[in-house]
Symmetry: C2
Subunit: 346 residues, 2 copies
């Protein structure tokens, strides 16, 4: 059967294409007789407007969604900009979708795939503790970007881009130990966090052990559930509580720079100095870590490169070139003004 | 003419609905004879699959888009969270679209309206200097949120939510004058900015004049075009240049808190103190303004309330309840540690 087009129908009927279109689409502005005639010709010629093809063209538009947990976290800002640039280069369009902490991102993704006919997904940040069965429900390629996973994910069904959160965390805590600190507090994610929080906590504990330092339970502090996670305010509240507990320590390591900013303010607010009274170290390498007073010692994650690699891997998968890929980037220890050798024995 | 449904066609043909659907959609899994018969019945009964209605149902899904200029600006983070919450409450879905500085947001919006069948749009941040003719091309309701406009916008065709950028800017500069400062530098947007940059600059000049202070051209400094606008780095570079120019001043007012953070770091880097050597004031009331060391004197914008009002106005317009609305919020002068009475006469 030859393919008949709307143009052919219009020619057969002796009307314009727009009139045929009006007939097909039940438009009120058409003479009933003309419409009946057109529909008859359409039927006789087995012409069927290809709805699926038309929908595809009109609404599909090659869309990639980035699902982000923690949209207020400045760590993601530069990544998002890079995602957008790279996705545009590929002539795809780009949806940024915030996922609430209480939402299941896989369900959000499945819904979006259906609604927006996505071609691919980037999961950015947050926990990621879904069963392999759940992940298998995602029928489009996806990449986990800067999501540490401690669980037994089937590495053949998903791709990932991150730093080695354990190793980098070890690196900065080891640096504090080498400065002479042995009473090092940590601010980390609650223990039910199976993601970067627990990886970075493990790095901390491992570095202490290797430096012959006993782990003190009272120096392991957790972000408050009732406050936004990784927020400056959360770091402030936890540090203030730690300072007021009378616990003896000379350094704080917080697992994000945002938390560290809050920690610093808490230290200043009780009239103590950094680094003379307390050394403070963070993680991420945000701009603000550099511009804060004092500048913050931190682990810089190469966010632009990580974002570029995320998109590269995603498009490899979309084009069917490869299956799952896993890329681990090196972090860099940036030494700021917020840490120094231990000056006093508390 | 009675409305005929796919169910009626199926009954008339003695087949299932899915078979009728396969016929309509040109599906390969259907007997050619059955298909011809169905199409004949369809034609005879003037049954026309209502594509537009079906598209609506499948892909429309009541979507609101927020078009944001300056996604890395933390000022917008809390607004976005509020937008999302309020839009979800209305059972609408939410697309966040970043607009590049070089892009025309109206064109981006028109494209999105077409692709995603938007029900409404929020324009967030940035310049907004489009002709009324251009604005009239937007066929869905929209609200300008925290976009100052100096141009002669037809206030009957668009709604807006913002603070009075002129008045609030006047307020904080007047505060600096009352502290005894008369040599006050400003960091603002380039002169071609017809938005908050020029409004806040006008507020600065007006406050100086009313305090009997002559405006010095050399103290009016502009963000660098080649750096990201309103970025910390931009504030740093401009302030560093100002400090090294040898220009005589005792206070800096930057039109955003992000710029102020950079300004502070530049002052520290040349070995000067805040506020003893320089008073520093910002605008926006970001969290970081409170947590920075020293805390920053600024104008707090009530971002959550502004975001809520934005969505309220948008949905009023979507429901056809009202035409254009314009809501101006009060800012609040927050006095931090970064400003003080003038201590020396330079």
């Amino acid at each position: 059967m030859e393919t008949i087009t709307i143009k052919d129908i219009a020619a057969l009927c002796g009307v314009g294409i727009s009139t045929v279109s009006r007939a097909i689409n039940n438009h009120p502005d058409i003479n009933e007789e003309t419409k009946a005639m057109i529909m008859q010709v359409i039927s006789e010629n087995n012409y069927i407007p290809n709805n699926s093809a038309r929908n595809l063209k009109r609404t599909d538009s090659n869309t990639i969604a980035v699902l982000i947990k923690g949209i207020t976290n400045p760590f993601f800002s530069n990544m998002i900009k890079t995602f957008e640039r790279k996705i545009k280069e590929k002539k795809y369009s780009f949806i940024l979708q915030h996922v609430d902490n209480r939402e299941n991102e896989i369900d959000v993704a499945i819904q979006l795939i259906k609604e927006k006919k996505l071609k691919g997904i980037v999961f950015l940040g947050g926990h990621f503790s879904h069963s392999n069965e759940k992940l298998a429900q995602l029928k489009v390629p996806f990449v986990l970007s800067t999501i540490g996973t401690t669980q037994k994910l089937d590495r053949t069904i998903c791709s990932s881009v991150s730093v080695d959160d354990f190793k980098e965390s070890y690196k900065i805590v080891d640096y504090l130990c080498k400065l002479g600190h042995s009473k090092i507090a940590i601010i980390t994610a609650p223990l039910d966090d199976e993601s970067i929080g627990s990886l970075r906590l493990n790095g901390y504990m491992s570095a202490l052990r290797d430096n012959g330092i006993q782990i003190k339970k009272n120096l392991i502090r957790f972000m408050k559930d009732e406050l936004e996670s990784y927020s400056i305010q959360n770091g402030y509240v936890v540090t203030r509580e730690l300072l007021e507990s009378g616990e003896n320590f000379t350094a704080i390591y917080a697992i994000s720079d945002t938390l560290v900013i809050g920690a610093c303010r808490a230290i200043f607010d009780v009239g103590q100095r950094i680094p003379e009274d307390y050394s403070v170290a963070g993680f991420d390498g945000l701009d603000i870590a550099h511009y804060y007073n004092p500048s913050i010692t931190t682990i810089r994650q190469p966010v632009e490169e990580m974002a570029e690699e995320t998109i590269k891997i995603l498009f490899d998968a979309i084009s069917g070139k490869t299956s799952a890929q896993h890329k681990t980037f090196q972090g860099e220890l940036i030494i700021g003004q917020s840490t120094g050798p231990i000056l006093r024995r508390k």
